[in-house]
Amino acid sequence: MAHLQEAAVKKINEICDRYVDETTPLMMILSDIQKEYGYIPLEVQELVSERTGISVAEIYGVVTFYSFFSLKPKGKYVIGCCLGTACYVKGAQQIIDKFSELIGIKPGETSEDGLFTLDALRCIGACGIAPAVTINGKVYPKLTVDSVPKVVAEYREMEANN
């Protein structure tokens, strides 16, 4: 646990303490950590285990079961392509393929520069505007394959200007 920064240890303990009154707080603790840091590595799981008394095995089991929890850090921009039924029949596969081609990573991977993570999502409930893509929560409705390069360029440009 040596390489966890003091501030992080403090924060994680604080998150654990938020739910001391709950009978079974694990999901809530993990959700908050995931939200705060974007991932839940083993060191953090050990810390949560120490604080809550829940075994690391159990915590690891839960972290790896739910797709929202991640063991590895995600890119700065997380591109989520909805592959739900409504989007799929409107060509969502071609859209994710295009992102994949342009960024050079497969779905589930993060680009080497840490800029992008590409995720294939299950239905995000935005079927009315299929095919839909979300980037860090912002929804891009009715995307076409042709408009994908523009979207990627937009973020690369934003990064270059920073």
């Binding site: 009978t23 739910y66 039924t85 409504a86 299950r122 239905c123 009315g128």
Partner: protein, 627 residues
């Protein structure tokens, strides 16, 4: 604070007067409401709202005009919507740039902005009012009550529309009578199974007094269904009230919402609604001066489809992997933390206040003999009017697809409608006149499910559809029981073989056997229904499977390994646009010039072609075909 029944009545009456003044214009104001559902918000409904507020402020119209967001209008393909009361004018596909014109022309000038009105595609006539649009005409809004008209973040508007009146009536009834009322209304679980809601409550009621729980299943995972999200976004108080009535009936003091983490707006509105109800004393101790106390808690999912299964959901709330439990014991006996619990779906609970407020007969007058009331469907796929519709049970598929849904786009032919998502099946043209209800859909080889309704046309390959659902289930199988864990993988392998053109007829036999085995031997609903898409597509479209296996052809030209793009050389003008658009340089010039053409034609090198379809889109002369 609302301390007793009389105070509730007085507050409701006051709020009802305000609300009616808004709709009728008796308050001398104009009211602009915008759709605040996820679909419209992603089409900049928020920016449009801000723009309205900005312009209204600039023009000093603040005391004459209000601007608010309301719940989902349902007609998502035409969003974002802007509605203006009291005229009840509905503008659709509104953009930020249109706001100035709406304010100047309509709000100030009293003139309708023609170009933003809905146009009936059949008659080409412009429609000013929502109720006159075909999409809305056959709908009856019980579960979606208030969506598209009430501000979900303002409890007063909801009180004015009758919120908590159902609870008030229930609290003045005997607990067993409340259950009887729900039982008599004929309400059945809207989450998929169609189990009578009142019966579920009876089981939990019959358990000894003590700690009991009501759980609302908002883990809407069926890809293509979004009614629970819209209800939680549009009228969270109705679901809370339904949960409270259930709590009173079975003797529970705590309710848990389990909502997908993917639905941040729904969670936020739910939190606001809970806070407002608590502030008024409508949640907490001794509600409305009775002995009934109730508290509501929210738990978020973390992206696992199987958590929609009720026992897996309970495990997830308990901080474990979301794996289903064997039954019995049923949750009504031993549920959350081992205590008697009922788990009801969002839409089911949203119907409960209506039943108690208006009476069981008001609900049971809609529907068929064994399926009462209404059902919300999420229409999607190849259909003109994509959106959320609530129809009385017993409406035919034809009415749903053609009258409400506006038929299939681009003059294509209807092929099938998938109901029940990955657990359901498909219905074809011969079922179009079937009445939609729980038992009828099951009899036709599909199921109601949570209400996803995905329409497909001739461009969709049904083997590909089955494979798509199997990929989904394979991915989401929790791995606890072997029929589902291994069976879904093997079924997916066979389906992949079929779509790759490498399967034999023996594979098909094996697929069918496997499907039956997984269906009868899996532990929970997810596995038991996993083979349904295969079985129902096999029933209706066996010929497509055989075409893939025997003829090595995909009739819909979807399966990449079974189709080719070719250039019809006699139609080719030799312009070379296709060759330039090809991402893998698979298109080359030939030395053949077709009669009447000036340049040599092109051809596609099949070994290089990745079948992306860019060339077909680029060719102006329609010289490229898929076969």
């Amino acid at each position: 604070m609302i301390k007793n029944f009389q105070e509730l009545n007085e507050t409701s009456a006051k709020c009802a007067a305000c609300l009616s003044a808004k709709f009728t214009g008796n308050d001398g104001k104009r009211h602009i409401v915008l759709c605040g559902g996820t679909g419209c918000l992603s089409s900049k409904s928020d920016e449009i709202t801000a723009e309205f507020k900005k312009i209204i402020a600039e023009k000093n119209l603040g005391d004459k005009v209000t601007v608010n967001q309301v719940g989902c209008f349902g007609f998502c393909s035409q969003g974002p919507f802007v509605k203006i009361y009291p005229e009840d004018t509905l503008y659709r596909l509104v953009k930020v740039e249109d706001v100035q014109e709406i304010v100047e022309k309509d709000i100030e000038g009293g003139e309708v902005v023609d170009r933003l009105l809905y146009v009936d595609p059949a008659t080409a006539e412009k429609v000013t009012k929502q109720d006159d649009i075909n999409f809305y005409k056959k709908q009856v809004r019980i579960a979606l009550h208030g969506c598209g008209s009430l501000n979900p973040e303002d409890i007063n508007e909801n009180l004015g529309a009758g919120a908590f009146k159902g609870l008030a009536r229930a609290l003045q009834m005997d607990r067993a009578d409340v259950i009887q009322e729900v039982l008599d209304s004929g309400l059945r679980g809207r989450g998929g199974g169609g189990f009578p809601t009142g019966r579920k409550w009876q089981f939990a009621y019959a358990q000894p007094e003590g700690e009991k729980y009501v759980v609302c299943n908002g883990d809407e995972g069926d890809p293509g269904a979004f009614m629970d999200r819209s209800i939680l976004e549009g009228n969270p108080l109705a679901v809370i009230e339904g949960m409270m009535i259930a709590g009173y009936a079975i003797g529970a003091q705590n309710g848990y919402f389990y909502v997908r983490a993917e639905y941040p707006i729904a969670v936020n509105r739910l939190k606001i609604a809970i806070k407002q109800a608590e502030e008024l004393g409508l949640l907490g101790d001794n509600i409305l001066g009775t002995n009934f106390s109730f508290r509501v808690h929210i738990r978020l999912g973390a992206g696992a489809f199987v958590c929609g299964e009720e026992t897996a959901l309970l495990n997830s709330i308990e901080g474990q992997r979301g794996m289903p439990r064997p039954r019995p014991p049923f949750p009504a006996v031993k549920g959350l933390w081992g205590k008697p619990s009922i788990i009801n779906n969002v839409e089911t609970l949203a119907c409960v206040p209506y039943i108690l407020r208006e009476g069981k007969d008001a609900f049971a007058k809609y529907g068929t003999e064994r399926s009462k009331g209404t059902k919300v469907f999420a229409l999607g796929g190849k259909i003109n009017n994509v959106g959320l519709v609530e129809i009385p049970m017993g409406t035919t598929l034809r009415e749903l697809i053609y009258d409400i849904g506006g038929g299939i786009p681009d003059g294509k032919k209807f092929k099938a409608i998938q109901t029940g998502g990955p657990s359901g099946g498909c219905l074809t043209a011969e079922d179009l006149d079937a009445e939609i209800d729980f038992d009828n859909l099951v009899a036709k080889g599909s199921m109601m499910g949570s209400g996803g309704a995905i329409v497909r046309d001739d461009d969709n390959c049904m083997v590909d559809v089955a494979k798509y659902y199997m990929e989904f289930i394979y991915d989401e199988s929790c791995g606890k029981c072997s029929p589902c864990r291994i069976g879904t993988k093997r079924m997916l392998e066979i389906l992949t073989k079929i779509t790759d053109g490498k399967a034999t007829m023996d594979d098909l036999t094996e697929l069918e056997e496997l499907a039956e085995n997984v269906k009868s031997n899996s532990l929970c609903g997810l596995g038991q229904t996993a083979p349904n898409p295969i079985l129902s597509t096999l029933k209706h479209f066996r010929d497509e499977y055989i075409a893939h296996i025997v003829d090595k052809k995909c009739p819909a030209h979807i399966c990449k390994n079974l189709m080719q793009y070719t250039i019809e050389q006699d139609k080719c003008f030799g312009c070379g646009v296709c060759a330039r658009s090809c991402p893998v340089n698979a298109i080359n010039k030939t030395d053949y010039t077709a009669p009447g053409k000036k340049l040599p034609s092109y051809q596609i090198d099949q070994a290089k072609c990745v079948k992306c379809g860019m060339c077909i889109a680029s060719c102006k002369f329609k010289a490229i075909i898929k076969k």
